[in-house]
Symmetry: C2
Subunit: 193 residues, 2 copies
Amino acid sequence: MSTKGTAERIIDAALQLVSEKGYTAATTKAIAELAGVNEVTIFRHFGNKRGILKAIIEQFSYFPLLQQEINKNVTWDLETDLLNFSVKHFNFLMSIKDFVMIGFKEAMQFPEINEEIANIPLHIKNELIHYFQEMYERGKIREIDFEAAALSLIAINFGHFMSRARLGTIVSNIPTEELLKTSISIFSRGLTP
Amino acid sequence: MSTKGTAERIIDAALQLVSEKGYTAATTKAIAELAGVNEVTIFRHFGNKRGILKAIIEQFSYFPLLQQEINKNVTWDLETDLLNFSVKHFNFLMSIKDFVMIGFKEAMQFPEINEEIANIPLHIKNELIHYFQEMYERGKIREIDFEAAALSLIAINFGHFMSRARLGTIVSNIPTEELLKTSISIFSRGLTP
DNA sequence: CTAGCATGTAAGTAATTACTTGCACGAAAG
DNA sequence: CTTTCGTGCAAGTAATTACTTACATGCTAG
């Protein structure tokens, strides 16, 4: 049990409990139990309860944003690229699911999280706009509000993510891959001249 | 101040506070203050704190589901109908924003809410599938997985709703109407044969 | 007028919560 | 070997929370 290991386990436990129950309902006692450490250890590491969330936010701000990944493997075939992006976007959101959930739950008490969360669609939007512009110049998509188009694509993926992350297969049990495939099939055809 | 008025004010206050801070952080004291009633009055009306949320859920379950509204004003012109639906769907979600937020925050502590929330896309999905099938028979949309298409349309609207409801204009300040219009322009073209 | 009913006020209780302090222990480093 | 450091353990504290009880007040219906 190194120092780093202890702090990490506390952060992981807090990430899980806060995303499940919310900040106030996730007690330091419960976090300590889940992390397998004594409650005092939490305060020795993070000072107070807010300190844990602060550490979580900091840890996340260093998280490699999807951004670089998107630019890779561009084929300049609309449907191929958009499906590739869609799958990556969805998986990315799933990988930071707990953090996203905390962001939506504790936006009031921790405004910093909201900013961090808002950065994701913001960056992706700009990447997509850039891609759409290039595709337009290549004559591969029709004239349209690129920003609105980018936001719509992000909205589709986010909507699918939320549906699956929170409601599971209650709404539908179509495999995610097929869902995204159909989504992109419609969307890319809708952009084609 | 009739009895009904008092209970309603308590429910409204709880709806607001719980959607903002979460169930645990929304104390009965704060709810009473916001409602302008004494704290004891809450317990006399609802027995205990859970009773308030139970009342909220019950109240919502009688909420007229978007469903009937969708079927009205069908023109069998794809883009017209989808835009009409999209606007109604978006406004509907906005009108129950607080409840949706509670649903996403307190799914753990109140599983009933999640079911109630899940019912919305479920019903809408079926309505849309039905519409798509009819449109297909009329030769107005191409052959495609209707369920996946319906889910995608719901996902777009939900994504836009979440973006606006939680992040405001941070991500984009395109007017909502224009955003939905472009969304539907792309989507309906993507469905056209 | 009066009886009842909804609400306010005051006071209190048991449980929980974030957080502190003091001490003991074991491992690693000098 | 000894010091330091991270951690566990025990006990405690002040504040808050959900909830209760007893009594006073005012409005309304009969």
